[in-house]
Amino acid sequence: MKMAVRILQEIFDFFCGDWLIFWGIALTVVVIEGIERLPALASARPWAGLIFFAGVALSLMNSLKRETKE
């Protein structure tokens, strides 16, 4: 079990290494999926690209903000 967790941690560190960035991007993807699939959010579709860009940039800024406090 410990070995499996360690392997997963190594894979996560290789590809991302930062939970703040990971959750920021995950949330952005969920929002974009919602915009593209749910009829109630269809009016936001023309802005989906901008929202995606903003989500990525804000995830980075959130992670960098933590570095200023260390």
Partner: protein
């Protein structure tokens, strides 16, 4: 030739090869060239096999639409790591990567071990060289596979183009390494990391967005708009972070006002 696969692959590979070459040179100088070069060659072979297996599997079994979504999201995550480190270094919150200092430090460590035998194969030297080249090369292999498989409409052409970029970087770094016979301190590593980070995040956003259903205006030309947007955003971020970097510099012992 798929240039969107060649360039990111070339820049990313240059950074990683410089780091790997630093270790190979240290092992070669302190232990012996035989162990060092054998370790590097074994790692290169392992990486080649990995690219062949995973590259072929991706080309044969995964549809391009699925690939672009998954690869896009992974590239964003992967690229943000590079970009974050580069921005922290530009703003002074993290020390600049100094290959020269790393070279000297490793040289001291290995000399202290007293394991220098010029003629004989040395297991420690082989393994250290193998491990370093393999670890640095894994990132290159990942970029070659992902960019190669997603950049064009024909995945095989893309993989070839990305492999050419990596190979060019290898040749350039090795030739320069032989020419200077030391770590390549003249290569602006942080600038390269910053460029690669920007490219990875740009392509990741574009492909990930396409995979999620976003129809980018102007098709592939929108990559340039995204690149410019991330470039401007990164400049603003460095501006925002610089005061924190200066404050941290002042807090260091022996610098500025904290000497009281």
């Amino acid at each position: 030739m798929v240039w969107s696969a060649v360039l990111p692959s070339f820049f990313a590979s240059t950074v990683e090869f410089v780091e790997a070459l630093t270790i190979v040179l240290v092992i070669g100088v302190t232990i012996n060239w035989k162990s060092s070069l054998l370790g590097a060659a074994a790692a290169a072979l392992t990486l080649g096999v990995l690219v062949l297996i995973f590259g072929s599997a991706i080309v044969l079994f995964i549809p391009i639409e699925v690939l672009r979504l998954v690869v896009g999201i992974i590239l964003v995550l992967f690229g943000l790591q590079w970009l974050k480190k580069a921005l922290l270094r530009y703003s002074g919150l993290k020390a600049l990567h100094d290959e020269g200092a790393i070279y000297e430090e490793r040289l001291r460590e290995l000399k202290a071990r007293g394991e220098i035998d010029a003629g004989k194969f040395n297991g420690f030297g082989f393994l250290t060289s193998f491990k370093s080249v393999l670890l640095e090369g894994l990132e290159v292999a990942f970029i070659v596979i992902t960019f190669g498989a997603s950049a064009g409409t024909h995945k095989v052409d893309g993989l070839w183009a990305a492999a050419v970029g990596a190979l060019l970087a290898f040749v350039v770094v090795v030739l320069l390494g032989f020419a200077v016979r030391g770590p390549l301190t003249k290569i602006p590593e942080n600038t390269l990391k910053y460029i690669v980070g920007l490219m990875l995040v740009t392509f990741g956003t574009f492909w990930g967005g396409e995979g999620l259903g976003i129809a980018w205006p102007f098709a592939d030309l929108f990559l340039l708009v995204l690149l410019a947007a991330y470039f401007v955003a990164s400049l603003l971020i460095v501006r925002w972070l610089k005061p924190y970097g200066r404050a941290r510099e002042r807090q260091k012992p022996g610098v500025g006002g904290s000497r009281s």
